[in-house]
Symmetry: C6
Subunit: 67 residues, 6 copies
């Protein structure tokens, strides 16, 4: 649960990153991968899809921040 | 929340772009990537999928703009 | 909102195309890309996924065309 | 709307094929593409994803065939 | 409809396989493809996505196995 | 059903892994694949998408852990 949609977006990004962390627990390996996907248009788009799916769950959980 | 489905579409596109911005905060790097995905049919389609997912969340949040 | 599921399908295809148009506004560039994805089985399938996601939103918005 | 889940599956497959047909209206071109994706494990899996999304919409539209 | 979430998972896998079967009806061809995707990490992940989508439909259809 | 969203995340990851296990039942083969996807940014992102889909089902099943 988050207070605003903006916080919901950041939670979605954090959730997407946590999965990477659990699948590849070695921080040194993750540091090697970061510059690869940060410079790859296709991978950035794929990250966007993951965050979009996570956000849709968070938005529903927060009843779309309706009062 | 947006007033019309059209505004919802633009918000979906903006949300998809914001994720790219957060994952690759370096504007110069993003400028290098833009011509790559803008000329790549496969990447344009993948962007379309991301926007479609974001829009489905926005549409539900707006109760499909029903009165 | 569309009157029938068939119109919903066409709207889904139109929506998927509009995203491509906004991301790549240059008509000449889009004309170059069209024959690429129209002859590529993998890209046609990916377009199908995008339309499927857009259609699911449209179908929900129309309450699945139930009376 | 379909009478049974099985019919829903076939409708999902038909809907996925129709998108390909609209995007690539040239039957001769589609005939060339068919053997490509039918022998490509990755593309068959991607078709499966599209059908899965279409089916989820059809299943919801039919209220999951509950009496 | 299935009695338990576990049965729901197996149904999801079965449904994902059935689509492959309908798209590539030639059993000999499917036998050739099996060792390809079973040894390909990327394809195994893609199969996982398909099953995840099918399962979400089955879970909703069973009202998440709530009493 | 899980007690908390955190447990829901771990269940999502477990569910994603179980599909791989059923599709590739040979543990020795899976051990060969693990270092491949753990060092591949694109595959890690794809795993993230699968977990995101599984989690959205689990979150809905738990009514988003609302009291």
């Amino acid at each position: 649960m988050t207070a605003t949609p903006e916080e919901g977006r950041y939670l979605a990004i954090k959730m997407a990153r946590l999965i990477i962390k659990i699948t590849q627990p070695d921080a040194a390996e993750r540091d090697k991968l970061r510059p690869i996907y940060a410079k790859d248009a296709g991978m950035l788009i794929a990250i966007g899809q993951t965050v979009a799916i996570e956000f849709s769950t968070i938005a529903a959980a927060n009843n779309y921040w309706k009062k």
